[in-house]
Symmetry: C2
C-alpha cells in the first residue's frame, strides 16, 4: 500500500508499549543473549531504537525540510547505542524509549505535514534522494524489523529445547537479518 | 539454552499483552492484509493462536501425561481458526486469547510439574516421540514465531512505501515462514 501518515503514526505510537509488554521483567536469559558473534541482544535492540530516536528519524526529517537535497543527512552510528546503554537496566531503556518516542511524535504532529511536504526530497548519504514520505514509512518499518529481530533472537535461545519441533518453527529458519 | 519452565511461562504470560499493545485499534490496513495468496493476516494469526490454546498445547500435554507414548496426540487443524474467528472483531479475539491463555497457565501451574515429568514422552503424529519439555518449549517458541510473522506481514504492507530503504530492512528479506 501507499504510505499513509496516519498509519505510520499508528505503528510508531504502539512500539514502546509493545516492547514493554514483551520485555519488561523478563528473565535475562531472554534479554541479554544474542544470536552469536557480532549480533544484538534484545537489550541492544532497545538501545538501538533509542539511538535512532535521538539521532536518526526526526533529526533527518528536520534536515530534509530545512535543506532539501542540498545537505546530506548526518551520519547514523549503528553501534552508537552501546555507549549510551552502558550501565542502564532494560527497564530504564524501555522508559527512555517511551519518553523519546512520545516527544518525537509530538514534534511530528506539530509539523502539520501536508501531502506536498511528504513529497519533498532529502539526500541520504548512501541512497541519494529520498522523500520525506519514504523516511517516515521507514521509521515505522524499522520498528517492525526490530520487533521481528527480537522475536528471532529470543526464539533462537530455544533452538535446542524445542527438539524436533524446530522443523515447524519458521522463525528458526529466518535469514532476514537487518543490517544490523 | 536448556528448557526452563519458569522461562517458558515468562513468555507465555506476556504474549497476549504484547499482541494487545501492538494490534488493538490499529487501522485495518495493517491487520486485515496478508502477504499474498494462502498467507495469513495478523487477524488470522491471533485466531490461530486461540485455536492452539483450545486444541493444541494443554490438550496435548494432558494426553502425554495420561497416555505417554501409547496414544498419539489428537490432530491440530492449522486452518481451524478460520471458522472460529468468523464474524468476530480483532478486539474480541485479543480478549479471547488473553482469557484462554490465562486459564491454560492456571492449569499448567496446577500440574506442579517436576523435572521427571518434563522428561516424559508422548507421541507426536508426525515426529514420533517428543518430551513434555519439548512440547512446552515449543508453546513459547510458537508465540515467538507468530510475533515474528505478524511483524513481517505488517512490514510487507510498506514494501513499496519505504523506497530505497528496503535494502536495509531485514524483515523484507525474511523467508523464515512458519508452516503456516
Amino acid at each position: 500500500m501507499e504510505h499513509n501518515l496516519h498509519h505510520t503514526i499508528a505503528i510508531l505510537t504502539r512500539t514502546p508499549a509493545t516492547l514493554n509488554a514483551l520485555l519488561r521483567d523478563l528473565p535475562e536469559a531472554w534479554t541479554l543473549r544474542n544470536e552469536g558473534e557480532n549480533t544484538m541482544t534484545a537489550f541492544d535492540v532497545v538501545g538501538h531504537l533509542i539511538h535512532g530516536e535521538r539521532t536518526n528519524w526526526m533529526p533527518r526529517a528536520r534536515t530534509l525540510l530545512q535543506f532539501g537535497e542540498t545537505q546530506a543527512f548526518g551520519p547514523f552510528d549503528r553501534w552508537g547505542h552501546l555507549r549510551e546503554s552502558q550501565g542502564k537496566s532494560l527497564a530504564q531503556l524501555l522508559d527512555e524509549l517511551a519518553r523519546l518516542r512520545s516527544e518525537n511524535l509530538d514534534e511530528l504532529h506539530a509539523l502539520n505535514l501536508r501531502p506536498e511536504d511528504l513529497a519533498r526530497r532529502g539526500q541520504h548519504p548512501a541512497f541519494g534522494a529520498v522523500t520525506l514520505s519514504q523516511l517516515l514509512a521507514t521509521w515505522a518499518a524499522h520498528d517492525l524489523t526490530h520487533l521481528h529481530q527480537i522475536s528471532r533472537i529470543m526464539a533462537h535461545q530455544y533452538r535446542t529445547a524445542v527438539g524436533p519441533y524446530s522443523a515447524y518453527l519458521g522463525v528458526l529458519q529466518c535469514a532476514g537479518h537487518s543490517s544490523p
